[in-house]
Subunit: 342 residues, 2 copies
DNA sequence: TTGAAAGCGCTAACAG
DNA sequence: CTGTTAGCGCTTTCAA
């Protein structure tokens, strides 16, 4: 039925091994045989069975991409497609395929990763997130399976190759910018002790306050959990605004959320930036089109993915590659959502 | 090094085939042996090599997902992550993995699909788009390789299983809504004769005009090509607004674009909906937060993906499944971006 | 420069 | 209920 290397061999009057050598363009096969065999392959419509090949050469030429949670609304944030675009670009360049995790819960994802690894579905893995207590990372480390992470590993960073933004310093910069504009009551929306990037950002936020000798106020820190649901978020926001020293500036986890709040503020008669200054993260296209256009941090998501894939492929091609950290600089993009405190 | 079925067999004092049977929970193996073998597997940390398994059973339990163009900005539109979320959900339910295309050009994608198919990387394919002259679809059809498409195939629809919105009728409804509000000069932004969904929508648009006995005006149809670039888009828009009978209502390819235009209009002093009514497609979360909130069509992207995967898996499990069409109804979500023509 | 043979890790008749 | 045997389609020594 399906045509194999044997059929080609027979039709070309050579042995299967010769055909195999032609496929890999082995130097010690005469041009003549090569041409003949290639002709036959063409004629018969032969295409190698990569499965079988993988089994013997022990490599699949595919990389596994693990998302935090494929089933959640999280994916509405363009972070994911954009980072995937970066990964794709680099993978394609090296003829690697992409195998995607589908798990919804941490347990599911873990099981999937084990399948990818032990089932030899992939040669290496890219983790698209980093949490504080990550079993998957530990498993991969223990198995000595090649992987890179987009984000900063909470533990064992010296043994892991990862690509990350300078989340702490960029958030410090953002916060300082707000402080320089005269703001002292600065809220931080979307704190989450589970994900490392948030921890880093919160640290930068605190550093900026400290340097400016502004007291840290726990009330100004709004956990992510309160912001998932629209109702809850608006409720929480009202509480925040009802505070005696209500914040006049917001540092917000991502642009998506920021844009939602801008709209909410518009609807309840609070003006941005006159009453409240805001800055988001990710610099999505829509920042430019919000009302007012949103000041944001470009974290170069595409490059994050590109470099993540690049490092992994490097490791795959040369197993001796040492762990390293690549830092993609973030960049504030000034638009119209911040102004001096009046 | 890596532990195989043989090692387990030896350690458990049974034959490899018995171990294999235990893995697949074969009914004719005694509970006792099963338990013993399982114990050994646990102990040794055995995990089956799916690669080898695939080779003999001729199935990979993975589905290939083909995107129009992984490298383009297209992906900023949340369509892609959302449809993928639907696919993931169904795939996971049936323990299928996902293999993603990475190609940037049509040729690259074609080659990749051939690799997936002939290289036995996947059991079936989901096409996330449908274009008028699609070589990939033809190839798949010719190879009799299982696939489904999200969208309506331009040709051979009777031989293909696909899941689609009722793009024609929903766009007719949208347009009629605008007509009912008194609009006669209605523009259609984002026409593209390459993609079938746009063709269908344009058809619905025309039907509505015809029924209302409004003459079709070519000037009101703006091809997608003009809208990719921001500069170009705004240029084109100005031309459109400079027309003697300038349009008072817009039907817009997707919400993303619509939100951009709302912002543009705000910036040049055109009011939505007072001066211009707009309706978009996809009903992304941000519709609610645009200014004004955008009337849109919910095309149920998640379900599109879910059903696409469902049909494919069905075909995979039962090869005799006949081709069918599944229609996911679209739904207008009325917000504040349309009003009666004054 | 090429062929023969062994084997990657697993499954599936066919026996027993 | 379980073992033996023969492959799946390919690569890779080892010989020639």
């Amino acid at each position: 039925m399906t045509i194999t290397i044997k059929d080609v061999a027979q039709a070309a009057g050579v042995s299967p091994s010769t055909v195999s050598r032609v496929i890999s363009d082995h130097p010690r096969i005469s041009e003549e045989t090569k041409n003949r065999v290639r002709g036959v392959m063409q004629e018969l419509g032969y295409h190698p069975n990569l499965q079988a090949r993988s089994l013997v050469v022990r490599s699949t030429e595919t990389i596994g991409v693990v998302m935090p949670n494929s089933a959640s609304k999280v994916l509405e944030d363009p972070f994911f497609p954009e980072v995937l675009r970066g990964i794709s670009t680099k993978a394609r360049e090296h003829q690697f395929g992409i195998y995607l995790s589908t798990g919804a819960t941490e347990k599911e994802i873990y099981d999937e990763v084990v399948q990818m690894v032990q089932g030899r579905r992939v040669d290496g893995i890219i983790l698209l997130y980093s949490r504080t207590d990550d079993k998957i990372m530990k498993y991969l480390l223990e198995k000595k399976f090649p992987f890179t992470v987009v984000g900063r590993p909470f533990e064992n960073a010296e043994r892991i190759t990862f690509v990350d933004n300078d989340n702490t310093s960029i958030t410090k910069q953002v916060t300082t910018h707000l402080i320089d504009l005269g703001h002292k009551e600065i809220a931080f929306l979307g704190a989450n002790t589970e994900f490392v990037f948030t921890i880093d950002r919160l640290k930068g936020y605190k550093q900026a306050l400290e340097e400016a000798q502004i007291a840290f106020n726990e009330d100004y820190i709004i956990p992510d959990a309160f912001l998932q649901d629209e109702q809850l978020a608006e409720e929480k926001m009202k509480q925040l605004l009802a505070l005696p020293n209500r914040p006049t500036a917001f540092v917000i986890k991502d642009d998506f959320l920021a844009i939602q709040f801008i709209s909410f503020f518009n609807s309840i008669g609070i003006r941005v930036p006159e009453d409240i200054s805001m800055v988001g993260f990710n610099n999505i296209t829509l920042c430019e089109y919000s009302h007012p256009p949103l000041t944001s941090v470009d974290i170069h998501i595409f490059r994050l993915g590109l470099e993540g894939a690049n490092c992994l492929i490097e490791m795959l091609k040369n197993p001796d590659t040492l762990p390293k950290r690549i830092t993609i600089p973030g960049q504030m993009i000034y638009r119209k959502s911040c102004q001096e405190k009046v």
